[in-house]
Assembly symmetry: C2
């Protein structure tokens, strides 16, 4: 099956641009609803950070290091590099007896406007703490201390990444066909959209075992600390707040989005074929409204879907809307 039309950008009376993709909703038993091609192979990118954090908990490394839920939320985050994120990761590393040069995520300018402005106007370069993945990497370093691995913990054959791969294949229920190198240099294992949705459904239906306990704790950490998972003005933070912490959501680069709905026992995964984040944000919003867990009138929901788009003079020019037939 081809990709399904999901989100349209309207300007005046014309649909100006169109976004298609693949989306799957799973419960504990399998696929409940799907659009496009569930078997499409994708890189989950940052949407699978809660999977990448499983070995951190299951190994006992998180408890040995005394990690808080706030730190676990940060391990699952693509944060904005705001002061609160940078300070939290810095403190985490200090607690491990490590520091910024031990990270292997590289640098990029932070999204957070205040921190971006501070760096820009003081002619300062960002450090690795600013990297949106620095919390995930602090988690990798915590696991690495436990596993006594070498310093280059992002190499695909390193014990940390091999542990991540094993957990990833177990929760997706698939043998990964391979990996790509992510923006933060960690390997990102490929899976199908259905496999990613299946994994999210497992997070939504955690068992009493060690893995289930780890899943429950990570989901609760994300839902309790939405400001740590992304940042002010970001879709993940806004959507989790809009749903009152009932649902955990996570974006990934190139237009992946997942959601974990513990009360409904459902997991969602979607990928917009062209990689446009505006469309993955609108599509997950549409699916969360469809499932009755997000109010379509919520300001964050409106901002991501159906709300008026304004131009440089504040004139309404159009809107992002559901394509016909999506999601119903």
């Amino acid at each position: 099956m081809r990709s399904a039309e999901m989100i349209d950008l309207w300007r005046g009376e014309l649909c100006e641009s169109r976004h298609a993709g693949h989306a799957v909703i799973c419960d504990a038993h399998g696929v409940v609803e799907a659009w496009g091609r569930p078997a499409e192979v994708i890189y989950p990118r940052s949407s699978c950070k809660m999977i990448q954090a499983l070995p951190l908990l299951e190994s006992g490394a998180a408890d040995a290091a005394g990690l808080t839920d706030r730190q676990l939320a940060l391990a699952c985050a693509s944060h904005s590099g705001a002061a609160l994120h940078v300070e939290a990761v810095d403190g985490w590393l200090t607690g491990l007896g490590l520091s910024e040069p031990d990270l292997r995520c590289g640098t990029h300018m932070p999204r957070d406007p205040a921190e971006n402005r501070r760096l820009t106007c003081s002619d300062s370069a960002p450090c690795q703490l600013h990297n949106n993945c620095s919390g995930k990497h602090a988690g990798f370093l915590t696991l690495n201390r436990h596993l006594k691995g070498g310093p280059d913990y992002v190499e695909p054959d390193h014990p940390v990444q091999q542990a991540v791969k094993a957990a990833f294949e177990e929760v997706t229920g698939e043998t990964s066909p391979g990996f790509g190198i992510d923006g933060c240099s960690a390997p990102n294992w490929a899976c199908t959209v259905e496999g990613l949705a299946r994994a999210m459904a497992r997070f939504a239906n955690p068992g009493p075992d060690r893995r289930g306990q780890a899943m429950r704790r990570l989901v609760d950490a994300m839902r309790s600390h939405p400001e740590m998972v992304a940042g002010e003005g970001r879709s993940c933070t806004g959507l989790m707040r809009a749903m009152g912490g009932a649902v955990a959501v996570k974006t990934g680069a190139e237009a992946v989005f997942v959601a974990i709905l513990p009360e409904q026992g459902l997991g969602i995964a979607l990928k917009i074929t062209d990689g446009a984040t505006r469309a993955s944000e609108a599509a997950i919003t549409a699916l969360l409204i469809h499932l009755g867990v997000l109010d379509a009138r919520d300001p964050t929901a409106q901002q991501l879907l159906d709300g008026p788009l304004a131009n440089c003079r504040g004139r309404v020019t159009g809107a992002l809307r559901r394509a016909p037939g999506f999601p119903t």
Copy 2:
């Protein structure tokens, strides 16, 4: 016919994201080559600024105001809001006895890093001169002085916009089905991809009449002043320099791109369905290479297509590549 696959983003061994679209190459007699659906109706957005500038020349307004080729390039520009652009538009308005508040384009932060930084770090708001369309609007104001129209020259029924509409329908050879409001508040008339390519072919094959003279002068202005049409580091400026001024190219929002090839007598228009600029830039690069006017090894060409994409640590993660069958 559906849209044609054009540009793929590869990461590792997997095609991570895909971009499809519509592209047409015309000569003076009609369609030479096409991909996707030539009859697809689109908004040309800023790609049609050389069409929007035709009444400025044909009316005699440009000569009455003594406009230079540098100013005409700016009338066709989506500029970066660098100091040279802001100063040029400011001087143009002063020459008309007008000033910034007479513009109706609104404000946005400039792309130019130095000017963006200057405004950010001095807590200054951008003015309308920074708007990437301010040169087009200075052209509208020049025409408006000639036509003795009212101050709200962006209203669709204003004589300036009616003159633009007439020129647009004549050179595309189509009756426009309607307009959308552009980012700069001017009406943007819809046409087919084929109609836009036909218009570009007319610019590439200008006749001896008043219109042909206007077309030739605008194309020469763009090719002679690539730094005014966009700015340093931008695709239009880089591609025109890479082709030694032989070809005029222009981008438009939501992934439209056009090219005018006077030596070959060809015009190109393309629209990426999803609106991704990375794909429209890669696709026009592929077509210019295909037509033998751009060296695939040129650094700008490599940056836009096929060149390695690096992550936060400088590791190569993938590349934007032609989809199978595009363009050959």
